[in-house]
């Protein structure tokens, strides 16, 4: 089911604006990640969608229906909390069955139907036979899957996940990520995931919505954000960047450091900042001293001058000039006052 957020704003108790005019459309079957540093408003937005917090302005529509006035329990969405919030006094099976058992009598499945649904979910979550255990007896990864099963028991069309991998160790995180994406596809869910880990978001989501200071900065597929970051913040947030200050004069960006080559651009004159991924920099022969650093992850790393680190794929490392280097910044992005002014 599609989710449409229209001009959502929310003030905290002190009156501060924690969500500022956020509009976002999520299509049926889409997997969207809300990303941004802590305090950006990701979780606040998720809670507004779920109905746990009320927005101060704007509307939440799900499948074309305005949900703004409905409380959380009437929205019928799946929600997985950051710390899972399992019910410690209930068994795993009872946790999963909770959403079914509190349905009004006319909609509630029979006992046997509930039991078979619980078994089905335990199988789906790769936890067969663990129904009688209590949450405290499970590992972090298992608890997370129980929380997911509990959220999915009533077959909600929309699944909301608040930092679901936050408490897991890195190995488990990686495998559960792929598994979650498969689950999303298999069940035909519409999923909104909150994470502060851009790598995670890039791996799992169809589309990223980058947030900062309560605002939605840019939303788009990972390759779009990479190719056309709207602001220097988006560029910064999505990966390592090298930042070169300079100015545009007569259609040429002139970098401040002497060891960086000028770049022909198509923007008006004035100060500008060039940002570039370390692996997008090409090294050519030039005046700067080149200091080799440790090789890591298939990249040979060099320090150029005294500040810039360049990543060169190992298989082309033999083409790196040895006498001295200069930077070819042709694949960078140009920003003025933080806003993108041109893709070079």
């Amino acid at each position: 089911m599609s989710v449409r957020l229209d001009a959502i704003s929310r003030r905290n108790a002190a009156g501060g604006l924690i969500l500022d005019d956020v509009s976002l459309e999520i299509e049926t079957g889409e997997f969207v990640a809300l990303v941004g540093p802590s305090g950006a408003g990701k979780t606040s937005l998720l809670r507004v969608i779920a109905g746990l917090d009320a927005q101060s302005g704007g509307t939440v529509e799900i499948d074309g229906r305005d949900m703004s006035a409905l409380p959380a329990r009437a929205r019928g969405l799946g929600f997985v909390f950051q710390n899972y919030a399992l019910f410690g006094h209930l068994s795993v099976a009872a946790n999963i069955a909770f959403g079914l058992r509190v349905l009004p009598r006319s909609l509630r499945p029979s006992r046997s139907e509930i039991a078979s649904r619980v078994d089905e979910l335990l199988d789906l979550m790769q936890l067969p036979g663990r129904g009688r255990d209590f949450p405290a007896q499970l590992s972090g990864g298992q608890r997370q899957r129980v929380a997911l099963a509990r959220a999915l028991a009533t077959r909600p069309p929309v699944l909301l996940l608040d930092e679901p991998f936050g408490a897991l160790d890195p190995m488990v995180r990686k495998s559960i990520r792929t598994w979650l994406r498969d689950l999303h596809d298999k069940l035909g869910l519409t999923t909104i995931l909150v994470t502060h880990d851009q790598q995670e978001a890039l791996e799992i989501a169809d589309r990223l919505a980058v947030m900062a200071d309560g605002q939605l900065v840019q939303a788009g597929a990972p390759d779009l954000l990479e190719a056309r970051p709207a602001t220097s913040f988006v560029m910064d947030f999505l990966g390592d960047t090298v930042r070169i200050e300079g100015a545009v004069r007569g259609g040429v960006f002139e970098p401040e450091p002497a060891f960086a080559l000028p770049v022909a651009v198509n923007v008006s004159d004035g100060p500008a900042t060039l940002m570039i991924r370390p692996h997008d920099i090409d090294l050519v022969t030039g005046p700067a001293v080149l200091t080799p650093l440790a090789t890591h992850g298939g990249f040979a790393r060099y320090r150029v001058g005294d500040a810039v680190t360049v990543h060169v794929p190992v298989h082309v490392a033999d083409r790196v000039p040895v006498t001295g280097a200069a930077l070819d910044l042709g694949r960078g992005h140009l920003f003025r006052s933080g806003k993108s002014i041109n893709t070079i």
Partner: protein, 285 residues
Amino acid sequence: MSRVDAAAGKGSLNTKDGVSRAVVAVLAWVLALGLLVAPVVLVFAEALRHGGAAALASFSDPDAWSAIRLTLVMTVLAVAINTAFGILAAWLVTKYRFSGRGVLLAMIELPLSISPVVAGLAWVLLFGLQGWFGPTLARWHVDIVFAPPGILLATLFVTFPYVTRTLTPLLEAQGAQAEEAASVLGAGMWSTLWRVTLPGAASALASGVLLTTARALGEFGAVSVVSGHIPGLTETMPLHIETLYNGYQSVAAFSMAALLALFAILIVALRGLAGGRRPIEDGLA
């Protein structure tokens, strides 16, 4: 300092620590035995001074039976009512932030600091014959003071804080997340309270209920003021004990006292059991 020196220094510190710990432990035991256990033992010894038969015989007095019955009925009613109100009050003050919340919290604790005699007097002033509502009640032939309803009111007043007081910190610690989880899963307010909030705080609730029971069984001061000491009608066990004692029926008095002490010991044991089964982690996992 060499490693050997350091180890020796640590050793002597441990010995010193051990000695003072032993002293504290002995002191605690002496205090507990002297101030808490000895009186109870004495009560039983006095009750059994003329043998078990004499002690048991004292219960055959109809006034004794009436006192036991009245005490148990009052306790059951007071515990039931105050458990319900206590849960509501604890829930209200932890889950909602409203104006006057601090005042309400302080008021809930009032019975702990007010002398029970004052509380009893207040009821007499309200409902006694010379009191504000006395004449009206007399016209309707409703007896409150010097009758069981007055005893119930007095007991309710003194036992009001216990359930709320034990439940509130646990509900605060439990936080909102389990309840939020219940609400996104479709549970309404009551469903959440019964299925999530209270089970999560079960041990605290049990503890509060048992404290209420203990206090209700043993309350003397407030009840004494409103009861009128009518043997066989408005005397609870503690009041009856006083009457017996003042009438020099010491075996009967101590037998009744021993029975009351037995109830108390039972409650302490139950409370230990309830506290022993700790909820899994903090109710959240």
